[in-house]
Symmetry: C2
Subunit: 256 residues, 2 copies
DNA sequence: GAGTGGTCTAGACCACGCG
DNA sequence: GCGTGGTCTAGACCACTCA
């Protein structure tokens, strides 16, 4: 790759924009636009440093951003090379319900169906690792977009604080928030399992759909520092309306 | 936070393990074990540098690893603080079929049902942005675990090369690989949309399941440098057998 | 042995937050 | 004005790769 002619003017040392960021953007552009192709080597670090008349550490900072963005990889003793985008990798993000719905221009709402104390049955005692019959807090709610119910959630918290349940705190009825408010321990990790299923009769009536409607089921368990479960929940998403989207690859907006 | 007593012995300057990594691991442990709590400040960088008798740049490298792992965040002029884990964030990874199945101790296999050239119908011409009736490559296959079919895939490639279709290349029948082999342009980005559904009759017979079985549907489109679609596919996953799992939070194995 | 990236140093100047 | 993190320098030594 020919650096000399193209570049020196492209980096302004007196700019408010950090030099390493300018260098990062320069190579990002080359890669995204295909001027540098997968497998091709970047110039060695010392060469980049010389042509731009900057320190090698600054070059390394720029390259570390490129590595971070998945655009290149380095090999000790060999060089730095443009990566191949691994399009087989798949990452689905399930965003916050209110944000997601608002983003789509619809109006989100949530309705609390019930809050009460229940005694742990076999399933719950297993999930929360408590003896059968232990008192647990139970919440159930429905999330809607434009008044159409989309999600039905049931949540259980291992609780000990004898705190009253306030209306205000239900503005964030996430499992982790409920655990913070009513549990002993601070939740630090969360496990979710998603699978596809078909609505039960109960779910169908609450989501106002017919039997045999496909749904996502997301089971969430949250754990404290000691990896003990402190909360468990089950959310039913209307599978025909709710979608998960994954983007992988090289985009111009790797900005930040 | 009291650094002085705890620490100096904990870092070995002559170890093969980089100093920045030792420091990173030290603070990681403090945070995961709860000795440093969310919101609490780390000691200032110059102080860490002094107590361990190392350069501030090395401290910064360690902290940048902590930031990268999502354990802390820095604020210019204020300090560096332990982050709160955001347990409401959800990321589902859908791994490579063969790897996932092998990991579970089962034997994966894939069977090619058909390869042929088809003329684009309305849907396909829309998805691939080609005129109606354009020739496209079509692949369909079934992925199985222990001889039980789990996934049914149909893939379409916008092609131009008059290349024969080799058996060997079907070892990686991923959309991006097929596009590399048969398309004009190098695929750089991939979009996938996942939703829940119910098998059609055709899918039911191929997956050997009853009607009304719930499934995941994953639609994938891949694009080249110019954001033109080069391939499109639809994968049907048995929703009762295939699950997606998401872990969020602080774990001891944030190692690498 | 020449070339490469990985780590580390001991300074420097700056912009920001806060009292 | 002081303390903080953000950027940058001009060196240094090392381990690795490859011919």
């Amino acid at each position: 790759m020919e650096l000399q002619r193209i570049s020196k003017e492209k980096v302004d040392k007196n700019s408010v924009i950090p030099i390493y960021y300018q260098i990062f953007k320069l190579f990002e552009e080359y890669i995204i636009k295909g001027k540098l192709k997968p497998g091709e080597a970047l110039p060695p670090e010392h060469e980049i440093a010389e042509t731009f008349e900057i320190s090698r550490m600054t070059v390394r900072r720029a390259i570390s951003e490129l590595i971070n963005a998945g655009l290149v990889y380095s090999q000790k003793g060999k060089g730095t090379f443009v990566a191949k985008p691994n399009l087989n990798q798949v990452i689905f993000e399930l965003g916050d319900f209110h944000e997601e719905i608002t983003k789509k221009g619809m109006t989100p709402s949530s309705k609390l169906l019930g809050v009460r104390i229940v005694k742990a049955d076999k399933i719950l005692s297993n999930k929360l690792e408590v003896p059968l019959g232990t008192n647990c807090l139970y919440f159930s709610l429905v999330l809607s977009a434009d008044n159409e119910p989309l999600v039905y959630e049931k949540k259980y918290i291992k609780y000990s604080k004898q705190k009253p349940i306030l209306e205000t705190e239900l503005k964030d009825p996430s499992l982790s928030n409920l655990a913070v408010l009513h549990g002993d321990h601070f939740p630090t990790t969360s496990k979710r399992v998603l699978h596809a299923s078909i609505v039960t009769e109960e779910e169908a009536s609450i989501l106002e759909v017919e039997l045999n409607t496909p749904v996502f089921v997301v089971e969430q368990t949250i754990y404290d520092f000691d990896k003990k479960p402190v909360g468990w929940g089950r959310s039913i998403y209307r599978g025909d309306r709710y979608k998960l989207t994954s983007y992988i690859g090289w985009f111009a907006n790797t900005s930040k």
